[in-house]
């Protein structure tokens, strides 16, 4: 497999469209790049397409889904390479942590065996005491109490939070260049969530294979804006299958520009601030997606022209001509 060009992005997504068999236009022209060592958080409400994006990056979409555009992962064109190469990408080039840890584990395999197997599948390291000890050490790093005893237990004997940490361990054992984490902290306490994702990021940064190797990157899919703000370098805000705002995490949260981002930030709870402001209305149906800006039906800044024509493109990191002053 080719290494990425020096200074090049680990992940480049170009004009990616995904339409499911039922006609749902889940992704409608996504352009994203993730640099080595960078954590990009993709945020947005349920149904905005963020999990489809993670699935599409790994070529794990159902065969019936229509895909247009390209995904370049560490120099490999994910949709142009043979299926066997795409399989090797998963686990070696990219690791995946899914939302529900219970469904990610084989109930009749010990938890430690999952981590050992993830390591063996791609590294060809023989199973043995050394690999087992290494697994126990990894679980200890992830703050699993009594890791020697716990590693021998079955998934049902672990809490969801502990299992998610084991899933993170299994996904990162082969030092992937990109870790895709799809709502990895949904089952964790808030304090643990921040620590786990920060710890994960630090692991990705420190486990580079040599001085000439760039640190790994992370694509974090989450609906927890506060978590994203804590751990991400950049944020991409998705709505109805499109990126509507992208920029440095602190800037997007501190000075949101797109009306949808503003509504998300207003819905974040803060100490002493009372009940947060909900975002009224629902995502529009995407079968097919409405013309113009899909958020216009819920937007207080919407003008008549917003609901017509092609969806507004990203200009200076925000896809809203009203905010950028491009609307005449």
């Amino acid at each position: 497999m080719r290494a990425p060009a020096a200074g090049g992005a680990v992940l480049t997504v170009r004009d990616l469209h995904v339409t499911y068999a039922g006609g749902v236009q889940a992704l409608r022209g996504i352009d994203l790049q993730v640099a080595p060592g960078e954590t990009l958080a993709v945020v947005g409400e349920s149904g905005c397409g963020k999990s489809t994006l993670a699935t599409a990056v790994l070529r794990l979409l159902p065969a019936s889904a229509a895909v247009r555009g390209s995904v370049d992962l560490a120099g490999i064109d994910v949709y142009a390479c043979p299926p066997g190469a795409a399989k090797r990408i998963r686990g070696q080039i990219a690791g995946l942590v899914v939302q529900d840890p219970m469904s990610a584990f084989n109930p009749v395999m010990r938890v430690g065996e999952h981590v050992v197997e993830a390591r063996r599948l791609h590294s060809r390291q023989a199973a043995g005491q050394a690999l087992w000890d290494w697994t126990v050490g990894l679980l200890r790093e992830l703050r699993i109490p009594e890791p020697e005893r716990r590693a021998r237990q079955y998934p049902h004997e672990w809490s969801g939070g502990m299992l998610q940490r084991a899933a993170i361990a299994a996904a990162s054992v082969n030092r992937p260049r990109l870790l895709l984490a799809d709502e990895p902290t949904a089952s964790l306490d808030a304090s643990l969530a921040v620590d786990v994702v920060l710890g994960l990021r630090e692991r990705l940064h420190t486990q580079a294979r040599g001085a000439d190797e760039a640190p790994a990157a992370m694509l974090l899919i989450t609906h927890q804006l506060g978590l994203a703000a804590q751990v991400a370098d950049r944020l991409a805000v998705m709505y109805a299958g499109r990126v509507v705002e992208v920029g440095a995490a602190a800037a997007v949260i501190g000075r949101p520009r797109h009306p949808y981002t503003r509504a998300l930030v207003a819905a974040m709870p803060r100490p002493g601030a009372g009940l947060p402001e909900p975002l009224e209305g629902e995502l529009p149906p995407l079968t097919p997606a409405p013309p113009g800006c899909a958020f216009s039906a819920r937007c207080r800044l919407a003008q008549a022209a917003c609901a017509a024509g092609p969806p507004p493109p990203l200009v200076d990191g925000v896809a809203c001509p009203v905010v950028t002053g491009a609307a005449a």
């Binding site: 349920s46 808030a190 949101p256 819905a267 947060p276 402001e277």
Partner: protein, 285 residues
């Protein structure tokens, strides 16, 4: 609508409640009164015993030791974490919301059931929805409102909620929290809510109990606990709450609506806590 009444007989009284799962001590001598209209959050790390405490109050679990007394006539409603998983996918909206009425004696007739269903759906602002709809035809936010309607259909005096917003997007969660606040204010029901999201539930409740190792280690007003945490668990929860909120500047008071580029967002939030005036037991020392 009055706040919790200290002098009123508790809706539920727990005395020295202990629960063991085999060798594991899940609850260790918990004593708690929940007064009428009082809203209490149970917070703490995973495995601390907060959900076990909720299941004891609901009657689902019998304590290993200690007593649970419910005021005669107390009716409980239960709201669970995952709104989609908690609804039978093959049942219509009417069947889903009417189900908790099956245990009422005398059992209401069909017309009374339908009236109760429509009242409960109106309370959660789903009054206009077709009663023959199935869960997959609803959004996640609507599913959580249906789950709340199920909890309200028996006209509960005590609402029990287990992580009611943790599976929801913040924008949807904010709507559910506001709806809970409005419903509790309108019905006067007491609330016992389990959450690991201290920030989300703090503005909803009068009182927060921090659970650690099966014990109540701190008990007080949410704002006090967040500002002056005493126990290590509370300090960590408060620290996380402040960290998660720190990147977003506090919204200045002002008109609601998006600000211009480069300006902090003006959310126009009301200050303070729940609509019902806080009362009930004060912070333990």
């Amino acid at each position: 609508m009055n706040g919790a009444n200290d002098s009123a007989e508790p809706v539920v009284r727990l005395q020295d409640v202990t629960v063991r799962y085999g060798k594991t001590l899940a609850l260790d001598g918990v004593t708690l009164d929940v007064r009428p209209a009082e809203r209490i959050a149970l917070v703490g790390d995973s495995g601390c015993g907060k959900t076990t405490l909720l299941s004891v109050v609901s009657g689902y679990r019998t304590p290993t030791a200690g007593t649970v007394q419910r005021r005669p006539g107390t009716r409980t409603g239960l709201l669970l974490q995952d709104p989609v998983a908690s609804l039978n996918p093959g049942w219509t909206l009417e069947q889903l919301v009417a189900e908790p009425l099956r245990d009422r004696t005398p059992r209401p007739d069909r017309a009374a059931r339908r009236a109760a269903v429509q009242r409960a759906l109106s309370e959660v602002r789903l009054g206009g929805l077709d009663l023959s709809r199935l869960p997959h035809e609803l959004s996640v936010g609507q599913c959580q409102r249906v789950a709340l309607a199920r909890a309200l259909v028996t006209d509960p005096t005590l609402l029990l909620a287990d992580e009611p917003t943790s599976a929801l997007d913040p924008s949807v969660a904010a709507g559910v929290l506001r709806l809970l606040d409005a419903v509790l204010t309108a019905t006067g029901a007491a609330l016992l809510v389990v959450s690991h999201d201290v920030l989300a539930v703090a503005p909803l409740v009068h009182r927060m109990l921090v659970i650690h190792g099966g014990r109540v280690v701190e008990d007080g007003r949410p704002d006090d606990l967040l500002a002056r945490p005493a126990h290590a668990t509370t300090r960590r929860l408060a620290d996380t709450a402040h960290r998660l909120a720190a990147t977003a500047p506090l919204a200045p008071a002002g008109p609601a609506g998006p600000a211009g580029p480069g300006q902090p967002v003006a959310a126009g939030w009301p200050a303070g806590g729940p609509t019902v005036a806080p009362s009930g037991p004060k912070r333990s020392t």
